[in-house]
């Protein structure tokens, strides 16, 4: 898989900046992990080790936290992450068809990353924009009223 992994320097730089921003306190652990995840796309082992050292938190509990929350990933992801809402409000207004179309267009199953490292497809619970369901989120862009036929056009907007 040609998913881009990050250099050690880059990782340390991001971790330092995050700890600088929030402070080296346990209560700031989730904001720090969130920030690292946003900057790097995932939380590499090196980042975890560095945060563990700086916050004086055991690596095990850090991993426990990082693996608990959906928005944090401990594995590299594609350049663009597609979140498909699989909750009931989207489901009953045509979500199923959209999901089939997404899987077909991307050739991916949930939690898979495309071989070229471009896409990662994940399913998510309700995103709180239900009145325009079905909803998909690509990176930080929200798409509402998605029709299965609109999927290829939406995907084409991303490099």
């Amino acid at each position: 898989m040609s998913v881009e992994t990050k250099s050690r320097e880059k990782i340390l730089e991001v971790v330092n900046a995050a700890i600088e921003k929030f402070g080296a306190k346990q209560e700031e652990l989730i904001p720090i992990l969130n920030e690292v995840n946003r900057q790097l796309g995932y939380i590499p082992t090196e980042a975890m080790e560095e945060i563990s050292r700086r916050l004086k938190e055991p690596k095990s509990s850090l991993f426990g936290v990082a693996s608990f929350y959906h928005m944090l990933s401990t594995k590299p992801r594609g350049r663009h992450v597609i979140q498909f809402c699989e909750s009931a409000p989207c489901h009953v207004v045509g979500g199923r068809e959209v999901f089939e179309s997404l899987k077909e267009e991307l050739g991916l199953e949930p939690n898979e990353t495309s071989p070229d490292g471009k896409w990662t497809l994940i399913t998510t619970s309700c995103l709180g924009v239900c009145s325009v369901g079905p909803v998909i989120v690509i990176d930080e862009d929200i798409y509402g009223n998605v029709d299965a036929r609109k999927v290829p056009e939406i995907l084409a907007r991303y490099e």
Partner: protein
């Protein structure tokens, strides 16, 4: 306030922004300037206006005309026709004109539409959420001033108790009582937490309040802090709600600069600080003890209760945890009094409730109505009937922890006690309205899938139970189950309720119980006949033709 001839509002919820609301706003700015109208017309980006069918919307007052969807290319025409020539730009008027909120209220005054009763949403979609001045001009921070200068903490709690306000997060616990529990604790340090981790499927009422009226949270939390003796508060916002986080940050900063937060507020010796804590994607963090764990930087796993947060909350200190909608009710109660509040809703559930109306209906969106109206009224009046004239089959309330309400209960008043008496629950305020094309097995499967994914895994009944329940529903949906599986499902639902540690597991069995209670024949058809009456489930085993 500057007097203007017309007020132009642009919707700025996440979807509107995605669809170019910012560009529309800029185009409007340029055009208004080009026509030399900038002195006469005020232009504001407002939050979510509660309707979502033709975004981005541009609303022009005082005529209350709604235009949408508006693109930057259409702006010159709109400005020239409506703002310059004073004619309604017919080509751009949004197709469905029935609306919610202030706009509906304006129409209602003209006798054309039923009105909502807006208390918590009275400012959302009307004011500029990034402007503290706008908030102050609309009665903002008057309630805080009132409690700090003319009421004792005990009087504040009594007033809230008298109002009968009950928690809007789903459980309906009396808010005044909760505050009383924390107030009587002897502790140097106490906390107020605003639970803005809204993640019940189908619910986005809190997002609307946070995005459209962020200062109301700050004001309500400070009032709560004064009442119980806390000087610090946390807003735990759902990680996905980026716009809400941004607006809250700005609001807190502005409130601090204006002296509504910090030391010696209103010249009294009351101090209050608020921090924002963003979640990282976990439904379970809406449970108050899991939320507290998460603020402390841990896995969001619920604690065993008792002790309750009112005695042992954040960092072991007495803590009030209130939902966003609950808090939004506080300033109006203080300003207008408990008796005024009790004039809305029913005797045991006073006030209003915000519902998100979704599913197979003509108009989806957000409404705020008095407690005690019926589902039939919601569908007929606010949702403008079922889509394509289809028949109402069921409604799923309050996200996944709500109940499945069959058509036979559509005339039951929607308030905490009437629903409990009928054996169902109001939940958090989502109303997913489904027509006859919805299969109950398929729906229950989606709901249980949610629970099995979101179960935190701490206790066995929930972690294993939700998984097994989903597997059984999957079997039923494929025509591979036997009738004895239904007994197992019923037992599982009961066990989930009795044995789970927290609300998630306890309510996970509700959909199972409801479909067996109200739609047993349909479920059995999947087993006995291997047919899905709604035509949704793909039966893998077909009946052999003899």
């Amino acid at each position: 306030m500057k007097m203007t001839r017309s007020m132009v509002l642009v919707s700025s919820d996440p979807i509107s922004i995605q669809l170019g609301a910012q560009e529309v706003f800029q185009a409007l700015q340029e055009q208004i300037k080009a026509f030399g109208l900038e002195e006469e017309i005020s232009l504001t980006m407002v939050g979510d206006v509660g309707r979502h069918d033709a975004l981005p919307l541009v609303i022009v007052y005082p005529e209350a005309v709604i235009y949408g969807p508006v693109t930057p290319e259409k702006v010159p025409y709109l400005v020239e026709e409506h703002l310059y020539k004073g004619r309604i730009a017919e080509e751009l008027v949004a197709s469905v004109r029935e609306l919610s909120g202030r706009i509906a209220w304006l129409h209602a005054r003209k006798g054309t539409l039923p009105a909502e009763q807006r208390i918590v949403l009275r400012r959302a979609g009307i004011i500029d959420p990034t402007s503290i001045e706008d908030y102050i001009l609309n009665d903002g921070y008057t309630a805080l001033g009132k409690v700090l200068t003319s009421m004792t903490p005990q009087e504040v709690i009594e007033e809230i108790k008298k109002s009968g306000l009950r928690g809007r997060g789903g459980a309906g616990f009396p808010t005044g009582t909760k505050w009383g529990f924390v107030a009587r604790e002897k502790s140097e340090k106490k906390y107020i937490i605003c639970n803005a981790d809204e993640s019940e499927p189908g619910t986005f009422k809190d997002r609307l309040i946070l995005e459209g009226d962020p200062h109301s949270m700050i004001e309500a939390m400070a009032i709560a802090g004064y009442a119980v003796g806390a000087d610090e508060g946390y807003i735990y916002v759902r990680g996905e709600y980026l716009l809400a986080q941004e607006r809250l940050k700005k609001a807190i900063q502005d409130a601090r600069e204006m002296g509504f937060l910090g030391k010696n507020i209103f010249g009294t010796d009351f101090n209050f600080e608020i921090h924002i804590h963003a979640g990282a994607g976990a439904y379970i963090c809406g449970e108050e003890t899991a939320l507290i764990e998460s603020i402390e930087g841990k896995r969001g796993q619920p604690r065993s209760r008792p002790p309750y947060p009112t005695t042992h909350g954040l960092w072991g200190k007495p803590t009030v945890v209130n939902n966003v909608e609950t808090l939004a009710n506080i300033p109006p109660i203080i300003n207008n009094g408990a008796d005024w509040y009790r004039s809305f809703g029913t005797p045991s559930s006073p006030g209003t409730k915000v519902y998100t109306v979704l599913g197979n209906v003509n108009v989806t969106g957000l409404i705020e109505v008095p407690m005690g109206i019926t589902l039939r009224e919601v569908i007929a009046i606010y949702a403008k009937g079922m889509k394509n004239g289809s028949n109402f089959k069921l409604a799923q309330t309050g996200g996944s922890s709500g109940s499945i309400i069959p058509a036979s209960l559509q005339d039951t008043p929607m308030d905490f006690d009437s629903y409990t008496k009928a054996g169902v629950s109001l939940g958090s305020g989502a109303l997913l309205i489904c027509d006859e094309d919805t299969c109950v097995v398929d729906l229950a499967k989606v709901l249980l899938n949610f629970f099995r994914v979101e179960s935190c895994g701490k206790c066995n009944p929930c972690r294993i139970g939700t998984q097994r329940a989903w597997e059984m529903l999957d079997k039923i949906s494929k025509g591979q189950a036997s009738l004895s599986d239904l007994d197992k499902l019923a037992e599982l639902s009961e066990n989930l309720y009795m044995l789970s540690n927290c609300g998630l597991g306890q309510t996970a069995g509700t959909p199972l119980r409801d479909i067996l209670n109200y739609f047993r024949a349909e479920v059995e058809a999947h087993i006995r006949l291997k047919v899905c009456p709604a035509g949704v489930c793909k039966m893998e085993e077909l009946i052999p033709l003899s």
